[in-house]
Symmetry: C2
Subunit: 193 residues, 2 copies
């Protein structure tokens, strides 16, 4: 059915363009601009996504789903520590796009009990899986739990996206966090709590 | 000169109320509301602060100046490690107010080459002083520098304010960062960069 696959291709193309536009500071861009850049009629966009919020939500859901799939693929890697730390680094490096998309969706009035919120929770669970495996392998200390690890992921993502940090400072910032997560010996989290 | 000290007291009172209102989620509050809550006439507010941006800037400058004074006072503490980590924890615990004030000022069109930006830089330099002293005392590893430490301060502040995190998770998040900053022995930042 060529018609159906054309429709699917159009949908993906609209999502690609929307991710690019809204994920790079263009939160006030219009659905019309996305249609123009995607080379499709505005009616095609509206048929797929009746509102800007619906379009943004679809972009975010796809973004979170991809990250979740990447996290789950890393569950199969041989070195659980490298898998966990590598994925942490990957998330923070791409944080600016994700944060821009979330802010655009919030501004368009979305993100309540939405599909995007559910996709975001699924990503969090996948990170939890990587953390658990890294802890079982002794690469991450056993006395840390997902809430604080996720808070660090959110915080370092924010910090990286806000300034924005250059690559070297971002790398050095993560090195401190990773040393804290891996730390063994006399330095215990309890010493500072 | 009683008149002059009355004027000064009014100004401080307006700043107290504005910090309370704008620092706790009321970024869309009006200058009129601040005047009413402070129990002064709107003319008194406008005489001191001609615009909402000017009022918010004055609140932030005072907020940053106080934090800077606290940081500088801690330079005299006996234990340089406790002084540095204690101030880091103090900043993150109060982050929600500071972030709300910054966002309100941004929304009111302020914070370019402003006095608040200068006060924020002065605070950063004071944190740099605490860091240097903690490093000289061996409480913080010597291979970390202010840009990444400040990025962690900004990031953990954001994370604490965003959710917002409960006290225990915030404490555990900071314990990981502090362990990373203090880490000695076989775990080196370079292992993860």
């Amino acid at each position: 059915m060529p018609q159906r696959s054309d429709a699917q291709a159009n949908r993906e193309r609209i999502l690609d363009i929307a991710e690019d536009v809204f994920g790079h500071g263009g939160k006030s861009a219009s659905t019309e601009e996305v249609a123009r850049l995607a080379g499709v009629g505005i009616a095609t966009v509206f048929r797929n996504f009746p509102t800007k919020a619906a379009l943004l939500e679809a972009v975010l859901v796809r973004h979170f789903n991809r990250l979740q799939a990447e996290a789950e693929a890393r569950l199969g890697e041989q070195d659980p520590g490298a898998a966990f730390f590598g994925f942490f680094r990957h998330l923070v490096a791409g944080a600016a796009t994700k944060i821009a998309l979330v802010e655009a969706l919030l501004e368009a009035g979305g993100f309540g009990d939405s599909e995007a919120a559910e996709a975001s929770h699924a990503l969090r669970r996948a990170v939890g899986g990587l953390l658990q495996r890294a802890q079982q392998a002794g690469a991450v200390r056993n006395d840390v739990e997902l809430p604080e690890v996720y808070a660090l992921l959110v915080g370092t993502s924010r910090a990286a996206a806000q300034a924005p940090l250059d690559d070297e400072v971002r790398s050095r910032m993560l090195a401190i966090v990773f040393a804290g997560l891996a730390a063994t010996g006399r330095t215990k989290a309890a010493d500072f709590s």
